[in-house]
């Protein structure tokens, strides 16, 4: 079981992802925006973050800068699961992977729940 912070702006999708992750016995905190995500991280102490880059007001990248600025969260694995196709941020992939420590990228429209769960299992630091 891992504590997962799911940063997903769409309320309906968030509910579906949460259900699937909880069914796989993970503990899930949901935030719909960047600011709420920082507060949720503070209380949920996540082992893994699943992040959409397209958020309202502050982007997922802004969230990552803030998130990584705290020592406690510098090593927390982050999975970007986004509506933005990978080709569109080719130029910033190095930034995401290197400086901001993104471990995996999933293109949301083509990622099934099973694939998401598999990515979480692969990066879960708490092996059961």
């Amino acid at each position: 079981m891992a504590h997962i912070l799911l940063v997903e702006p769409d309320r309906q999708l968030a509910a579906t992802y949460r259900q699937a992750l909880e069914r796989a016995r993970h503990d899930v905190a949901v935030a719909h925006g960047a600011q709420a995500a920082i507060m949720a991280a503070d209380s949920a102490r996540p082992d893994i973050v699943i992040l959409e880059l397209q958020l309202v007001e502050h982007s997922g990248i802004e969230f990552l800068y803030e998130f990584r600025s705290y020592q406690d969260w510098q090593a927390v694995p982050v999975i970007v699961q986004s509506q933005v196709p990978s080709g569109e941020f080719k130029g910033s992939w190095q930034l995401l992977q290197g400086e901001l420590g993104v471990q995996a990228y999933l293109y949301k429209p083509r990622t099934s729940l099973r694939q998401l769960l598999a990515a979480v299992e692969e990066l879960n630091p708490i092996k059961t």
Partner: protein, 240 residues
Amino acid sequence: MWREKERTGTSPALSQQLLLSIAEELKLPLLQIARQAEQASLDGPADLMAIRTTADSALQLLDSYVLGVRLSLERAQLDIESVSVSSVLYDAGQQLDALARNYGVALELNVAGRFGPVLAHRQGLQAALVSLGAALIEALPAQESAQLKLQLATHRSRYGIVAGLYADTRQLSNEALRRGRRLQRHSRQPLLNLTHTSGAGIFVADTILQAMALRLRTSRHHRLYGLGTVLQPSRQIQLV
């Protein structure tokens, strides 16, 4: 290109951009349906009402887009009539009710005060309000608003009768709308402060209103911020 602009009211590039926004926007309901179906296959029965509402809302967006294009093409012979704003808002509220429930948004109708009829294309006005409402319903939770409430309301201003949708969110500003229109061609998220999607519902409403020689604009209703349009009162004698 100039001829095309004159005929449809929008430039070809802008029409293509609107189509692109809609294609991006429609990924969301399809994704919701696909994942809900997958979740149901793993974990028991699906919430069929939610799936139906999602599909209906996507179809509504497509219908509104088609209506917007049709009205733009028929601009010279639009069927403008005397319309009761309250009844259009009521009908729009009915159409948005299920989607609002899906998103946990409380929908309220505020038509206090008696306003006479206005001049409008009834179907167009309703489609614009529904399109706008659906976009705002989806956007509100992502804005981290303290209150998930959306009000369909009308009031009198010095320019005419204003009909629109209002929420307790400062993100609904003139600047956000202006920047969104400017970025529509260049960004996958032009209304950055308002919605995490392409904002197609808002641009479709904009297109429909333009076809009716109206404008989508920001406005205030009591302490709420919103988007709506100004309608001109009909001089037709009211018999009731």
